[in-house]
Amino acid sequence: MSIDVASLTMDAIASGLRSKEFNAEEIAQAALAFAEAENPKTNAYLTFASERALATARKVDAAIAAGTDPGPLAGVPIAVKDVIVTRGVRTTCGSKILEHYIPPYDATAITRIEAAGGVLLGKTNCDEFAMGSSNENSAYGPVRNPRALDRVPGGSSGGSAAVVAQGTAVASLGSDTGGSIRQPASFCGVVGVTPTYGRVSRYGLTAFASSLDHIGPFARSVRDAARLLGAMAGKDPMDSTSAAAPVPDYLAALDGNVKGLKIGLPKEYFTGLESETGALVSRAIDALKAMGCEVREISLPHTDYAIATYYIICTAEASSNLARYDGVRYSRRAEGADTLGEMYKKSRGEGFGAECKRRIMLGTYVLSAGYYDAYYLKAQRVRALIAQDYAKAFEQVDVIASPVSPFPAFKIGEKVADPMAMYLSDIYTITGDLAGIPCMSVPCGDTAEGLPVGLQIFAKHFDEPTMFRVADAYERSRS
């Protein structure tokens, strides 16, 4: 019997396991075989965790045979971005500097997914240390977008978006610091969710910018993404920044009822975007209106300052977080240095790629003596203004809708020569991270060339249920 992994939903897996149409080991075998065969097209997986996947699947089958609940993710093949550590499974962070790193422990998100019956299939390619918007900054080569192989899948979680679009995993995990889940989700035509800051433990997520980093799910439907988030979310004693707020039943929120919900359209997010992207997003908003949502224009007046704010804060934090890759505690050590200082400099100079170096340099500069107040402190003050913009907007509306990116997936190589142009493409996503609010991308159609476009939905802190309700209702209206 052949299992078509590319079309499996979590509900289909659950009912197939119940009816004994297949078992979890058969799904894992089919998923691994399909993923290994298809991967050369996209370069989305860096490492397969075959033994671990089959072992987890057998545990699920044993639980079912024993009549115990195998968990809400039983048998679901899940891929994980290679910045999230996995015990015994190589974790490179897309960097040469960690080429041979095999973590001795699991991230909490991984532990929880496996406890819920989820099957870790493998690790996905990404921009080096999650720094990038196109996946071209990986030391292991770019990922190709499954929807258009000459184009980028977005970044930095490009591999995680691509495997879900390609069908080589049913769902996946990414990380989002400035849009690294939502932007690739929109470019690849899948659902991608950045939960509230602190909603998912970051224990075991390789730190990039700690005040902005999130773990979140990718899936082919809002329902599957909501289920995966529910299995990972909640307080973790190993991460003091994880939130104590109780985790609601996200699936219960998917009732299709959005009548009377107020949706804000921030006027600053509808300028400077490509017309086809704008038209598809407007059509999605019309569909929500037709379902009874009230739509009104709002303003997030500090949007224009978000990129400058973000690239100060994230690089400052990155320069500090990446100090640990020094050829001693982690990472490969350069040969032929005579002093300790030389060894540090040489190991880091050889190990990091261009974008990481750029961000470490910028971060070091903005934190250096005499500049701290002018840059870092200033950026933290503007960050507060950006967060206040959202707080004020949410006094008037329940959710906010916007495009995810000003344009669909661009060609591989098109923007690599101009880092500033690449940074500017994050304009619609980074404010969500700066404010720490939940936000997501849900597919809203394709351009004439067949390139997917995403609708972005933002909600109040911890109001993932309303965000999912709107996204799910919209998704249903399209099918």
Binding site: P104, Y311, R348
Partner: protein, 91 residues
């Protein structure tokens, strides 16, 4: 805003990064571009605005602390499994 090659080399020294001559030149250009964009923040008067260091939610000051209970940690062998060289003179 423009950075000189010497300024770039000074920052690289602080960051413990060895950069080649070509990298220094490209870095001076790229950082200059980004810093020029960043100057935009000076348009804003932020007097009296509290800096936001972290996304915080209302909670008890000790809510983020766990009970101080002894737990097993990684074994020596696990902790050193990735070390290229261990033992005499290393760890």
């Amino acid at each position: 805003m423009k950075l000189t090659d010497q300024e770039v080399r000074n920052i690289a020294e602080l960051a413990n990064l060895r950069l080649g001559d070509q990298e220094v030149e490209a870095m001076a250009h790229d950082l200059g571009d980004i810093l020029t964009h960043i100057e935009k923040l000076n348009e804003l008067d932020t007097t009296g605005v509290e800096p936001m260091a972290q996304v915080l939610f209302a909670a008890d000051p000790t809510a983020t602390l766990r009970e101080d209970i002894e737990r097993p940690s990684l074994s020596n062998a696990d902790a050193l499994a990735n070390a290229a060289v261990s033992g005499g003179g290393y760890y």
